[in-house]
């Protein structure tokens, strides 16, 4: 039995369709219900629907053998897992954005508002730039508009929210996409099955 953690929402549905097409079907998951665990013993698969930011935790601690998670969450969390494939969808970018008229003052630390303090710290450390992190949990775009921060480090998909709030992307930090991850111990004991999925998934991406 392979235990798979899927992120709730659009990304999870897309990944399920991909896994269904290679033999890991469990149609019940598509029904409109509040259930979180779905099992098809014939196909040898059990799916868990979890909060996207928790997928890597479920996998690292072995509750799930494999899972699908965004690269932003992996880079922010430093998880002890295997990252076996880039699924190539759920793409967006981690970027630095600020008010359209923003000019950086290098004589003082830069105030950075973000949901991703580790990614922001690592990036600015690599540039030797002193910063002050302001950790926020949502509506990050408000921070520079209200003068709370100079810039934000956040995920940008279309850029519409930024534009509507008078902000622009100043620099891209890293591209983001969905990744297939595996628990290190589970990989040792289910390597054949997990590798089969990785190869099939990679085949679909091509």
């Amino acid at each position: 039995m392979l235990n798979i953690a899927l992120p709730k929402g659009r990304l999870g549905s897309k990944v399920y369709k991909m896994l269904e097409s290679i033999g890991y079907e469990c149609p019940e998951i598509l029904e409109d219900s509040r259930k979180l665990i779905f099992e098809n013993s014939e196909a040898g698969v059990k799916y868990f629907l979890v909060k996207p930011s928790d997928v890597a935790i479920y996998v690292e601690y072995g509750a799930a053998d494999i899972g699908v998670v965004g690269k932003d969450i992996l880079d922010e969390g430093d998880f002890d897992i295997y990252e076996l494939a880039n699924l190539g969808f759920g793409t967006c970018r981690m970027a630095i954005a600020a008010k359209n008229e923003f000019r950086e003052d290098f004589d003082r630390p830069l105030k950075v508002a973000t949901k991703y303090p580790n990614i922001a710290k690592n990036y600015y450390n690599s540039k030797n730039r002193e910063i002050e992190i302001i950790k926020l949990n949502g509506s990050i775009e408000l921070a520079p508009v209200l003068g709370l921060s100079d810039v934000i480090v956040d995920i940008v998909e279309t850029g519409t929210t930024l534009k509507e709030n008078g902000l622009s992307v100043f620099e891209e930090i890293l591209p983001i996409s969905a990744r297939l991850i595996a628990n290190k111990s589970a990989f040792k004991f289910k390597e054949e099955e997990i590798t089969k999925i990785v190869e099939a998934v990679k085949g679909q991406i091509k």
Binding site: E60, Y61, G62, D78, D80, I81, Y82, E83, L84, A85, N86, N183, K184, S185, A186, K188, F189, E191, T195
Partner: protein
């Protein structure tokens, strides 16, 4: 699975049967030992305190450093030790210090093929005590160094980024890292091909030989010799070659390995050859060993259903000596017996008996 205490008893017997001496140390060491060798530790954060003379001490985060510091081994005279000690480390996730129950063994002195085989066989024997499916994954730091030299030369940043990818079996980001550093051709292709190798030991080794990475042959020959010896002793089951087992190249120089047990989410055993560290304290000696994280084994056992097998109730009129001898007889039958006048709140027992 056996209880943790029975596993540790068996581990002591396993090492004593192999002629290893028990090593016991105090809970603290001078902080300078850890400061000078901080990259050998899993975390540089240790709990420190001053004694009355002002000397800075630390609660030990590691046992191997203390063993190596005090070893009397020479190039010809070996020291073989095993230990069970608590170590104190910072948990990177919770940011809190944890006391970790650790069992381990070390051979110091001349580390030849026979010593290497003995360490690996003891690591396998250790995993077998859990009575679960187990996997011992082996790599070679000499091979990894040669591979990194070939692909990244002395470019520190490229080496660091590639090492991160290797640890996560992340071959797709390896491609991006090579593109970022403008590395292509054989250097890129062979590095990625090496890291796609996984699973069956012999097939993996053959694939690595075929890549003909400069400076890697001696390491591959050592892995080959080890596997041949393991096969000759029928010990090859559950042994795999896995390059993602990668440790600090400043200290580890040869075979490295990690042990996994089905049902535990991370490795419970970790070890390898660390001549570079041993050589810092005693010139020319080699060293090899491993630690097993006993605390993790506790997660495999379920709590006992009962607090005792028999609850033996006595009355005011009961003879104390008769009550005790009744309990003793039951205990001789292998039952746990609790003597009480009334049933204690919340006590879970299998059987209730009344004393005469």
């Amino acid at each position: 699975m056996n209880s943790v205490s029975s596993v540790t008893k068996k581990l002591s017997l396993l090492f004593e049967a192999a002629g290893y001496k028990k090593y016991k140390m105090r809970k603290f060491e001078e902080y300078s030992l850890y400061l000078e060798n901080k990259s050998f530790l899993t975390s540089e954060y240790v709990i420190t305190f001053n004694d009355l003379s002002g000397k800075l001490l630390a609660l030990k985060p590691d046992v191997t450093l203390s063993i190596v510091k005090n070893t009397k081994a020479t190039q010809t005279g070996r020291e073989k030790l095993y230990y069970r000690e608590s170590v104190y480390r910072l948990d990177s996730r919770t940011h809190e210090y944890k006391e970790i129950d650790q069992f381990g063994m070390e051979i110091l002195g001349d580390i030849d093929a026979a010593a290497t085989l003995e360490v690996i066989s003891l690591a396998k024997g250790t995993l077998a005590q859990t009575e679960r499916a187990a996997s011992l994954c082996i790599s070679h730091m000499g091979f990894m160094s040669a591979l990194l030299d070939f692909a990244a030369g002395d470019n520190f940043f490229l080496r660091e980024k590639l090492t991160d990818c290797v640890k996560m079996k992340n071959t797709h980001d390896m491609q991006a890292v090579f593109a970022q550093f403008n590395v292509s051709g054989d250097r890129k292709e062979k590095f990625i091909a090496a890291n796609c190798v996984s699973g069956n030991f012999e097939a993996s080794l053959e694939a690595l030989y075929k890549l003909e990475i400069p400076g890697s042959k001696a390491s591959l020959d050592e892995l080959n010799e080890l596997y041949t010896n393991l096969k000759a002793c029928s010990l090859e089951k559950g042994i795999t070659l896995d390059l993602s087992i990668i440790t600090d190249t400043d200290y580890y120089n040869g075979i490295v390995f990690q042990g996994f047990v089905e049902g535990i989410h991370k490795n419970i055993l970790s070890g390898g050859r660390y001549d570079k560290l041993a050589g810092k304290f005693r010139e020319g000696i080699g060293a090899m060993g491993f630690a097993v994280y006993i605390s993790e084994l506790a997660f495999l056992t379920s709590p006992t259903q009962y607090d005792c097998d028999v609850l033996l109730l006595y009355k005011e009129s009961s003879s104390p000596s008769e009550v005790l001898s009744t309990a003793q007889k039951l205990r001789e039958e292998g039952l746990s017996v609790r003597i009480e006048k009334t049933v204690p709140d919340g006590l879970r027992y299998k059987e209730l008996r009344e004393a005469e």
